[in-house]
């Protein structure tokens, strides 16, 4: 009798756990991973760019909402693009959605971390802390190493 009662209770618990998972669309099954990180050196007050890949290992589309770093006055995600006049320009990137299993790749000449006005010189082999704010995954903080510009 005791065994039957125990198995009924276990079944109820198991079902309720499953039901919780299905009813909560915000539960993330995997992780947001940020890798292949590097940035260029910057003299004081100068700008720099950071490059990396964000891999959405969760089951839901996530969106990169903003970035920040204490090492620079302003940090944003920008994209380099060609203007209608054929010039090379830059603008803030919008709609940074990352589908499940997809990656958002920031690389030279395309999307990049736009790091404006370095608070102090940042040289090769240094690293800086950058915070990424995702719509679902929330805040992720990573160190980005500084590589030679060449």
């Amino acid at each position: 009798m005791y065994r039957i009662l125990l198995s009924v209770l276990a079944s109820i618990l198991f079902l309720s756990c499953n039901s919780d998972k299905n009813s909560d669309p915000e539960v993330l099954s995997g992780q947001i991973e940020i890798k292949n990180k590097w940035m260029r050196p910057a003299n004081a007050d100068a700008n720099s760019a950071g490059y990396l890949s964000i891999i959405n290992g969760t089951a839901k589309t996530d969106t990169l909402l903003s970035v920040s770093s204490d090492a620079f006055e302003v940090a944003e995600v920008h994209e380099s693009y060609e203007t209608e006049a054929g010039l090379s320009g830059m603008r803030p990137a919008k709609n940074l959605d990352i589908a499940p299993g997809d990656s958002l790749v920031l690389k030279p000449g395309g999307l990049h971390l736009m790091l404006m006005s370095a608070r102090q010189p940042i040289t090769e082999n240094d690293s800086i802390t950058v915070n990424f704010n995702f719509k679902k995954a929330g805040e992720r903080t990573v160190r980005i190493p500084v590589r030679s510009s060449n």
């Binding site: 260029r40 006055e73 010039l87 006005s117 030679s148 510009s149």
Partner: protein, 195 residues
């Protein structure tokens, strides 16, 4: 006999014509141009007159540009490194932004790319001269996005031509490339074809 001479002449001319076909046309002749500007050491230089006698690879940049211009500067450094013989080649970077790119700022920028003084020159100057110089080379640049920093200072980004070009020893432009995209090997191959 006259027919034979004509035949010999023709045989002689054909290889010459074929060789000429491989030589790139002059895109822009700056051999008579003269702009008094300053280099990273604040010394006055005359561009392009002071650069005649060597092949000159020119890139156009501004140091507040975080993404495209560093790629151009890195490519110039890489071309220099990858050349088997760079004794007849020099590299020039001309700023779009003379107001902020003072000689000392350019000097620090060059150090970031490990560009040695022997082969590399960065050029700035008064705004009017730089504007005329850039126009003469069909290079465009304009302020695109102004912001005020935490210190209350104005900062801005620029839209600009993305260009690397190769000039021959007479300061004539012979090759032009999309600066941040061209492969270093491509520039080296073209340079070797010019030599």
């Amino acid at each position: 006999m006259t027919k034979f001479r004509g035949f010999v002449l023709l045989i002689g001319i054909i290889p010459l014509l074929l060789a000429c076909q491989d030589r790139p046309e002059v895109i822009k002749d700056l051999s008579e141009a003269s702009f008094k500007v300053v280099n990273q050491d604040s010394s006055t230089v005359n561009f392009p007159q002071d650069f005649k006698g060597k092949y000159t690879i020119v890139g156009f940049i501004y140091t507040h540009c975080p993404d495209v211009c560093p790629v151009i500067s890195a490519k110039l450094s890489n071309v220099n490194k990858q050349l088997e013989d760079n004794s007849d080649v020099q590299f020039v970077q001309i700023t779009f932004d003379p107001k902020r790119d003072t000689p000392s700022v350019l000097k620090k920028y060059m150090q970031q790319f490990k560009q040695d003084k022997q082969n590399f020159t960065a050029i700035t100057g008064d705004s009017a001269t730089i504007d005329t110089l850039l126009s003469s080379m069909d290079i465009l640049a304009k302020i695109a996005d102004k912001k005020i920093t935490e210190n209350g200072e104005e900062t801005y980004l620029m839209n600009h031509t993305n260009r690397i070009l190769v000039m021959d020893k007479q300061a004539r432009v012979r090759y032009e490339y999309p600066g941040s995209v061209v492969k270093e090997e491509h520039v080296i191959d073209d340079l070797n074809a010019l030599r």
